[in-house]
Amino acid sequence: MMHQPIQKHRPPLRKRLADASEPYLYSAPALILIAAVMLVPLVVGISYAFRDIQLLNPFSGGFVGLDHFRALGQDQAFFGALRNTLWWTGASVFFQFTFGLILALLLDKPFYGRGLVQALVFLPWAVPSFLAGLNWAWLFNPVIGPLPHWFVALGLMDEPHNILSDPHLAMWGPIVANVWWGIPFFAITLLAALQAIPRDLYEAASIDGAGPVQRFLSITLPFLAPTIAITVLLRTVWISNFADLIVVMTNGGPADRTQIVASYIFTQAFRRLDFGYASAIALVLLALLLVYSMLIVLLRQTMLNKG
């Protein structure tokens, strides 16, 4: 072979520009929208955290440095909300995931009428979240809902009353609604992952003598693991930001017992119109979620390196 010097010839400038800019042209509208409505407000929101922004007070707007954060350090309501957030998120994710996985496994087997059943059990996912909240609030209401009466019948309660107004039990209301509403999300995602597992793997394993439990442990779980990791991570972040159900069902009450950080931010912004303080809380929440995500990613990395 003769080796000639490679002389790169270049296509005309106009064509090169057109070729190079094509993907940017396709994605520009989406990016511009995201930048204008999410990124700019995000930056502005971060700056609010250091300013005194009260919607009804025309004299507000000054720079207050770390004042909001100092106030936050003294704010017992905030720390209560932080604890409630942990509880709310942990319980919701745990039950959504567990029941979602079971449902996905049940639906992964072919049976007569599966299409219909799938549509029905996934239906709660389509119910608007505010309506899911109202719906469950009504179910817990002893005046029109059956649940308190059933609790009495089961001996769990002495007389029918609304758990949403019971400081010790109130959090369970939004959690139950959230689980009902969120099971389909996990089930859909996990079902999709399950159906992507090659069937002949199971057949090979059965021929090799693996029972159902071994097949689940040695094939299903390893295949699902990446999906589980990513959906649980994303869902955890999402649920800790998800205030709709609480705003609708309890509005943080009774006695702030169901106030989570996200709903607390909303209360500060919407009810008290104190945007500066709301932004400061939001910034802290964002930082906490970032730390959480980082930890998970790091944990995964170390596990992968070991494995």
């Binding site: 000639q4 490679i6 010839h9 064509k15």
Partner: protein, 357 residues
């Protein structure tokens, strides 16, 4: 119809070179087959001709016009894909007429072009079907039909038959050959199957590792392979190779090649190699002669009847060696056979793998 010139064409994906400078001239109406093992850059070359990949350096000309910067749609070529790439949401007729519709050809012209192509390929009863409702062979035909309706300057084929079963492949091979005889369109056909290459090509371009190894008619490549790669790649079962040293002619003896056990296989004398140079001796399985007086003895490992003939798998000096014969007696070969190598069928390659003499 058009000629295609490829001039020192190189291709790299980022820092990774895939084609190391290809020069090739394809004459008007010629059927060229690019053949080589998978990953050697055949598709890349074909796709550069089609305009689907940028050329890193060098020029491609169609009918003498440089097309490097032309979009595929402006090159007036047709391509048949390995996956057929039929549009699933269009009927067979619509698939075939799509290119003409894009060119705003008159309705009557489209109808006659599609009708003509469908008649040639036996697709008439299928015109209203969707690709999903066709068998593999029928899809293949539609892909061919889509290419021929618009009488392009050149046809490009990227392994068009590799998704068919053996019998269909044979049949389509013959049909492609007939179509080409009929249309006389310049065609470039990519395959890794050397039988397709042998049967279809006017000229074969054998490629390996992004480098063209040899260009020539099928029989040229078969009879005088330019190097070890082509020798081994063309032909099935593949050519046998034996290591040895060249013995120069003298003292009443002719030239020969001394094998590891000392046997000297006589060969026609060659120029261009010195005495005792390391060489590789090649002989095709069908050229080996079994004879009781043969000069080499080999042990029989396996007897493989193919119906058409018999393949004997042997060990010669501990190395695998094959014989192909039509003689049924080979079925009852004993534990060892003696073989002879007729001189005129011997190939000699130097230590760089290039053909000598």
């Amino acid at each position: 119809m058009a000629s295609i010139d490829i001039e020192s064409v190189r291709k790299s994906y980022g820092p990774f070179p895939v084609l190391h400078g290809v020069d090739l001239t394809i004459r008007d109406g010629e059927f060229i087959v690019l053949v080589g093992p998978s990953g050697c850059g055949k598709s890349t070359l074909l796709r550069m001709i089609a305009g689907l990949e940028e050329v890193t350096s060098g020029d491609i000309r169609i009918s003498g016009n440089r097309v490097n910067d032309l979009a595929p749609k402006d090159r007036d070529i047709a391509m048949v894909f390995q996956s057929y790439a039929l549009y699933p949401h269009m009927s067979v007729a619509d698939n075939m007429s799509y290119s003409l519709r894009l060119r705003k050809t008159a309705k009557e012209k489209i109808a006659s072009a599609v009708g003509g192509a469908a008649a040639k390929l036996g697709l008439e009863p299928l015109l209203e079907r969707r690709p999903k409702a066709l068998s593999g062979g029928q899809r293949q035909r539609v892909a061919m039909g889509r290419a021929i309706v618009r009488k392009p300057k050149a046809f490009l084929f990227d392994e068009p038959l590799s998704n068919l079963d053996a019998r269909l492949r044979e049949q389509m091979r013959a049909e492609i050959k007939k179509l080409h005889a009929d249309l006389k369109a310049t065609s470039i056909y990519v395959t890794h199957d050397q039988i397709e290459a042998m049967t279809l090509a006017d000229r074969i371009v054998a490629m390996h590792g992004g480098v063209v190894q040899q260009v020539g008619s099928p029989l040229e490549l078969y009879d005088t392979p330019a190097n070890l790669f082509v020798a081994g790649f063309i032909g099935s079962p593949g050519m046998n190779f034996l290591e040895g040293r060249y013995v120069v002619p003298g003292e009443g003896k002719g030239a020969g090649i001394r094998l590891s056990d000392g046997t000297v296989v006589p060969v026609a004398s060659r120029t261009g190699i010195g005495p005792d140079a390391t060489v590789t001796l090649g002989i095709r399985p069908e050229h080996v002669v079994i004879s009781d007086t043969g000069m080499l003895e080999a042990s029989v490992d396996l007897v493989e009847p193919t119906g058409f003939g018999i393949i004997l798998h042997l060990s010669l000096h501990g190395l695998p060696f094959k014989i192909f014969t039509l003689d049924r007696e080979a079925l009852s070969a004993g534990p060892t056979v003696r073989v002879d190598f007729p001189q005129k069928y011997l190939h000699v390659f130097d230590d760089k793998g290039d053909r000598v003499g």
